[in-house]
C-alpha cells in the first residue's frame, strides 16, 4: 500500500519534471510567456514536494521494518538502531538517487527565487533536466521487457521473480532483513553520503548557469550568482571526501586515508575541476576573455560528476573498486544521462565558441591572470590524469583485452609533479594578485619566503630523512605554499579579514601536501628486532616455508603474547594486555587492549582495535571476521594498528569448525593436560585461563605442609580465571625435593580445593630458570597456548597536518562563500 503510494509519488514527480521541463524550455525560447513560467515553477515545486513525500515514505518503510519491500529487506534488519536505519535510506543505489534528487530539488526552489530574470528559465530548464534523469533511475516503470529505473519501493516478488521461496509463496514476508553492511555502521558513514549529494546537487548550479550563459549569449553576468554555488559545492565535496577518508582510515584496514579507489576519485575529480573553475571565474570578474575557460570548467565539473556516477553505478567498476555499487540494470540509462549532459554542453559550447569574448593581446608574464589561468590548467591536468586511471575498465581496452586497474604508482607518479607546480603557482599568483609587481619587486617580495622555505625544507629533509629528490621538491613546494601564502595572509588580514578566503585555502593546500608526503611516504611498520632479522633473511632469499618454497614477502606483523611487551623500531614498547568481549556495538565483538609505551615504560596510549563477526555473512559453523583499526592521533605522528589474527579468533574458528563436523554433538576434549609454563605465561582451556604467576618461597615456620627432610621446597601460584565471569581462583601446589634415606625424591602432591573442579600437580621444575611443568586435571577442552595476537602496527607521521590542511581549506572556502554571497546579494539589491 505504502509502497504503491511511494511509486505514485516518484511517478508523479517524474511526470511533473517532464512537464516543467517542457515549459521551462518554451520560456527559454520565448521569454514573453509569463504564465507558462509560473506554471513551470509550480510544477517544479510540486515535483520537489512529491520527492520529499517519497523520501518520507521510504524512511517510514525502513523504520517500521516492512521486509516485503526489497530495499528494506536488502539493507536493513530488526537489530539496527535508529541512526543506522536513517543511513540505510541512502545505503543503497535507489535511495541515494532519491536523496540526490531531493537535494537538487530543494536547491532548484532556491534558484527560482534567487536567479535573475535573464537566466532563470534556462537555468531551471537544465536543473529540471538533471532531475528528470535522476528520477528516471528510480522510476521502476515496466515497458515491455525493459524496466526504466529501479524503484526503491519494489516488493520482494518484483525484485526477485525467480527466487524459489517467492514462487512457492508470493505473499512471503521475511521475518528479518539482510541488514546493513557492518562496515557502513559508522557515524562517519551516516553523514558522508548526504554531504556528498549536497555537493553533487550544488555542482549542478554552475553547469546550469554556464549553459544559460551560452544559450542567452550573456557570457559575463552569470559569474556572480554562480560563484557562491561552486564554492559551496566544493566545500561540500571536500567535506564529503574528508569524511570518507577519515572513515576509511579508522574503519577499514587498508592502512590509510586514501587509496586512489575509483569511488574516492569520483568525488575528487569534480572537486579539482570545480577549483579550476573558481579560479577562472575570479579572472573573469575583471576580464571577459576568461569566460571561455570559466564556462568550460563549469560544464566539466558537472560532466565529471555524471561520468563518475556512471563509472561507480553501472557495475563497470565491479572488479576494480571496493565499494562501487552493483549494476541494477541502469547501464543504458546512465549512458544516456551521460551522453546528453556531455553532448548538450559540448555542442552548445562549440556552437557559441566564435561569439564568446576572445582573449585580447598576449599578456605580460607577470600578469596575475596568466598565473591564475595556468594554475587552473594544472588543476585540470591533475583531474585528467585521475580520470584516465579511473577509466581503466574502458581506456584499458586499448592495451589489454581484459584490463585491470592501474597500479597505485601511476597515480602517485603523475600527480606528484602536478602538485609541485600547483603549489609553486599558488604562491606566485597570490603575490601578483594582491600587488602590482614588476620583475624586480616580485623577486624582492618572494625572496624572504624563499629563504624561510629553504631553511624549513632543509630541516624537514634532515629530520625526516627525506632522500628521494622528487620528495624533496614536493616538500619544498609544499612549505613554499605555506610560507608564501601565510606571508600574504597576514598582510590581508590586517586590512580586510573577509578577503582572506582564497589565501587561506592556499595555506591549507601547502599543509596538505606536506602532511600527505610525510604520512604516506614515511609510513613505517612497527616491527620488533626478531621480525626485522627475519625480514633481512627473507631479502637475502634464505627463508623457506615448511614445503621448501622460498618466502619472498616480508612480514609486516608483530606477534604479541599476553603481557609480554616487545620493543618495536627501537622506539616503543608494545604490549598485549588481554581482550574483552562486548555486545554493545556489534554482537560478538572482541576488543583487544594494546598498550603502547616509550622505552622507559611511560605509557603513550592504550588502543583498542576490535575484531567482530560480519553478521550478514556469518553462520554458526563459518564465521567471517572483520576488523576495526584503532588510531592514536598525536601532533607529530599517528600510531595505527589492527588485529590481523589472535588466539581468540583461532579458537572461535576451531569451535565453529568442530560444530560443522560434529553437527551439534557436544565436542569433548581431554580433561587432563600436561603443560610447560614460564612466569607470566597463560593457557586457555575450556572456559578457564590458567596463568603461572610466580613462585612463593616457603619455610617450615610459615607452611604447615612443609615436608620433613626437604632440601628444596617451594609453592607456585597458579591463577585460574573464569573467562566468562572473570572470577579468579589461585591454587598453590607444592614442589619439594625430599631426602629419603640418602635418595633425593621429588614430592609433588596433587593439589585442589573444595568446590573447585580442577586440580593441579607440579611435576617438574627446571633449575636456574623460571620454567615449570604442571599437570592439570578436571577441565575439559583443548589447551590453547597463552593468548596471543598478531598486530599490524604502523607509525604515520603528520597525519594531523593532513587533517589540519583540510580544515584550513574548508575554512577558506567558508569565508569565500560568505564574501561572494554578500557580493551577489548586493548586486541583486542594486539592480532591483
Amino acid at each position: 500500500m505504502i509502497g504503491l503510494l511511494g511509486k505514485f509519488a516518484v511517478g508523479g514527480a517524474f511526470l511533473a519534471s517532464v512537464f516543467s521541463l517542457i515549459y521551462y524550455g518554451l520560456i527559454s525560447f520565448d521569454s514573453t510567456k509569463k504564465r507558462a513560467e509560473s506554471l513551470a515553477n509550480t510544477l517544479f515545486i510540486a515535483k520537489t514536494v512529491l520527492i520529499t513525500i517519497a523520501s518520507g515514505l521510504l524512511i517510514y518503510l525502513i523504520a517500521t521494518h516492512q521486509f516485503q519491500y526489497f530495499y528494506v529487506y536488502n539493507y536493513t534488519s530488526l537489530d539496527l538502531n535508529f541512526k543506522y536505519l536513517i543511513s540505510a535510506f541512502y545505503g543503497g543505489q535507489e535511495g541515494s538517487f532519491l536523496l540526490w534528487t531531493l537535494f537538487s530539488g530543494l536547491i532548484g526552489i532556491g534558484l527560482i527565487r534567487w536567479t535573475s530574470e535573464t537566466y532563470r528559465a534556462p537555468v531551471m530548464f537544465i536543473i529540471t533536466m538533471t532531475q528528470f534523469f535522476i528520477l528516471s533511475m528510480i522510476l521502476g516503470l515496466k515497458l515491455g521487457d525493459f524496466t526504466i529505473g529501479a524503484s526503491p519501493f519494489r516488493t520482494l516478488v518484483e525484485a526477485l521473480p525467480d527466487a524459489p521461496f517467492l514462487q512457492a509463496n508470493p505473499d512471503f514476508v521475511p521475518v528479518d532483513g539482510k541488514g546493513l553492511n557492518d562496515l557502513l555502521k559508522s557515524p562517519w558513514m551516516m553523514i558522508h553520503p548526504p554531504i556528498l549529494f549536497i555537493g553533487f546537487s550544488m555542482m549542478t548550479v554552475p553547469y546550469a548557469f554556464a549553459m544559460a550563459a551560452l544559450w542567452k549569449e550573456k557570457y559575463q553576468e552569470w559569474i556572480k550568482p554562480a560563484l557562491p554555488w561552486v564554492l559551496g559545492a566544493n566545500l561540500a565535496l571536500l567535506t564529503a571526501i574528508f569524511l570518507g577518508a577519515y572513515w576509511a582510515y579508522v574503519t577499514l584496514s587498508f592502512g590509510g586515508y586514501w587509496a586512489w579507489d575509483p569511488v574516492e576519485n569520483a568525488s575528487f575529480v569534480p572537486w579539482l575541476f570545480g577549483v579550476a573553475g573558481i579560479h577562472t571565474m575570479l579572472i573573469q570578474r575583471k576580464h571577459a576573455s576568461a569566460s571561455r575557460s570559466s564556462i568550460a570548467f563549469a560544464l566539466l565539473s558537472y560532466v565529471a560528476i555524471v561520468y563518475e556516477t556512471f563509472l561507480t553505478r553501472s557495475g563497470i567498476l565491479g572488479d576494480a573498486s571496493v565499494h562501487s555499487f552493483v549494476d541494477l540494470g541502469l547501464y543504458a540509462q546512465l549512458v544516456v544521462f551521460m551522453i546528453v549532459m556531455t553532448g548538450l554542453g559540448l555542442v552548445l559550447y562549440i556552437y557559441r565558441s566564435k561569439q564568446m569574448p576572445q582573449s585580447d593581446s598576449p599578456s605580460h608574464w607577470l600578469n596575475k591572470d596568466t598565473w591564475v589561468f595556468w594554475g587552473s590548467m594544472a588543476l585540470f591536468i591533475g583531474g585528467l590524469i585521475i580520470i584516465t586511471g579511473t577509466s581503466s575498465p574502458i581506456l584499458g581496452k586499448l592495451f589489454q583485452k581484459n584490463p585491470t586497474p592501474p597500479q597505485i604508482s601511476f597515480y602517485n607518479d603523475w600527480t606528484l609533479p602536478v602538485a609541485i607546480i600547483i603549489a609553486i603557482m599558488s604562491v606566485c599568483a597570490q603575490f601578483l594578485w594582491w600587488k602590482k609587481l614588476d620583475a624586480t619587486s616580485f623577486a624582492n617580495a618572494i625572496s624572504m619566503p624563499l629563504i624561510i622555505t629553504s631553511f624549513v625544507t632543509l630541516l624537514g629533509v634532515v629530520l625526516g630523512d627525506v632522500r628521494q629528490i622528487s620528495y624533496i621538491l614536493l616538500l619544498y613546494s609544499g612549505v613554499f605554499a605555506i610560507v608564501g601564502n601565510a606571508t600574504i595572509l597576514f598582510g590581508i588580514a590586517k586590512k580586510k579579514t573577509i578577503m582572506v578566503g582564497g589565501t587561506l585555502t592556499h595555506v591549507g593546500f601547502g599543509l596538505l601536501i606536506v602532511g600527505i608526503l610525510y604520512s604516506s611516504a614515511y609510513n613505517s611498520f612497527l616491527l620488533d628486532d626478531q621480525t626485522k632479522a627475519y625480514n633481512a633473511a627473507v631479502r637475502r632469499g634464505e627463508v623457506k616455508d615448511e614445503m621448501g618454497t622460498p618466502i619472498i614477502k616480508e612480514v609486516t606483523m608483530i606477534e604479541l603474547k599476553k603481557d609480554i611487551p616487545k620493543v618495536v623500531n627501537n622506539e616503543y614498547l608494545v604490549s598485549f594486555k588481554g581482550y574483552r568481549k562486548s555486545d554493545v556495538n556489534r554482537p560478538g565483538e572482541q576488543l583487544y587492549s594494546i598498550q603502547v609505551s616509550d622505552l622507559d615504560g611511560n605509557p603513550i596510549t592504550r588502543l583498542e582495535p576490535t575484531v567482530f563477526p560480519m553478521l550478514q555473512s556469518s553462520t554458526a559453523t563459518q564465521i567471517n571476521w572483520s576488523v576495526d583499526p584503532d588510531v592514536f592521533s598525536g601532533l607529530l605522528y599517528d600510531v595505527y594498528l589492527y588485529v590481523a589474527g589472535s588466539s581468540v579468533v583461532e579458537s572461535e574458528n576451531a569451535k565453529a569448525a568442530k560444530l560443522a563436523t560434529a553437527q551439534g554433538e557436544h565436542a569433548h576434549g581431554p580433561d587432563s593436560h600436561h603443560l610447560p609454563f614460564t612466569i607470566g605465561q597463560a593457557y586457555i582451556i575450556g572456559k578457564y585461563e590458567i596463568k603461572f604467576i610466580g613462585f612463593k618461597p616457603i619455610s617450615p615456620e610459615t607452611d604447615a605442609e612443609y615436608p620433613k627432610n626437604a632440601t628444596v621446597a617451594v609453592r607456585i601460584q597458579m591463577e585460574f580465571r573464569n573467562v566468562d565471569t572473570n572470577e579468579k581462583t589461585v591454587l598453590n601446589p607444592l614442589f619439594a625435593i625430599v631426602d629419603v634415606n640418602g635418595n633425593k625424591n621429588m614430592f609433588t602432591p596433587i593439589f585442589g580445593i573444595d568446590g573447585f573442579p580442577a586440580s593441579i600437580q607440579m611435576v617438574n621444575l627446571v633449575p636456574m630458570s623460571d620454567q615449570i611443568e604442571v599437570h592439570i586435571t578436571g577441565i575439559e577442552g583443548e589447551a590453547s597456548e597463552d593468548e596471543w595476537v598478531l598486530l599490524i602496527a604502523e607509525k604515520k607521521p603528520f597525519v594531523s597536518i593532513v587533517w589540519l590542511g583540510t580544515f584550513i581549506i574548508m575554512a577558506g572556502f567558508s569565508v569565500s562563500i560568505i564574501r561572494r554571497w554578500k557580493e551577489d546579494k548586493n548586486r541583486m539589491e542594486f539592480t532591483a
Binding site: 552493483v326 597500479q407 618454497t549 563459518q622
Partner: protein, 132 residues
C-alpha cells in the same frame, strides 16, 4: 599557424602520449597461471577458485596464508599470501589474486573475493577486497 599554437599542440600530444604510454604499462590483464609464469616478475591478476581438495592454512612461523587455486583452465598452483586468511575467503566462489608467479608458486600481494549473492537477483558480482 602561429608558433605558439604549434608548440601547444606538440606539448599536448607529447603529454597525452606519455600519459597513455605510462597508463598502458601500469595496467595489466586478468590472466591464467600459464601466462603469469611467462610474465615472470610482472604484477598480474589471476582469476580462479579455491582448490578445496588441497590444504589451506595460515602459518604462524612464516606469517603467510597459503592455499591452492585452480585457474580458469584448470591449472592448480599454490598461492602464498603474506597476510592472514582474508575475510569471506571461505564464502568466495571466485578469487582474484594479484601478484607474481615465481618458483612455481603464486606470491599474492592482494586478493579479491567474489562472493555469491544469496539469491539470484541483480546483485550478481560483489567483489570485496581482502581487508587484511
Amino acid at each position: 599557424m602561429k608558433p605558439k599554437v604549434i608548440i601547444g599542440v606538440i606539448l599536448i600530444v607529447g603529454f597525452t602520449s606519455l600519459l597513455m604510454y605510462n597508463f598502458g604499462n601500469s595496467i595489466s590483464a586478468y590472466v591464467d597461471f600459464k601466462t603469469a609464469e611467462q610474465l615472470g616478475n610482472r604484477n598480474v591478476h589471476v582469476v580462479g577458485a579455491w582448490d578445496k581438495a588441497q590444504p589451506a592454512a595460515f602459518s604462524i612461523a612464516t606469517k603467510t596464508f597459503s592455499f591452492y587455486m585452480t585457474d580458469e583452465h584448470g591449472n592448480s598452483k599454490r598461492v602464498i599470501y603474506a597476510k592472514p586468511k582474508p575475510n569471506n575467503f571461505d564464502d568466495a566462489e571466485r578469487l582474484v589474486v594479484i601478484g607474481q608467479l615465481k618458483n612455481d608458486v603464486f606470491y599474492a600481494d592482494e586478493m579479491l573475493m567474489k562472493c555469491p549473492s544469496k539469491y539470484n537477483d541483480a546483485s550478481g558480482a560483489e567483489f570485496e577486497k581482502a581487508e587484511h
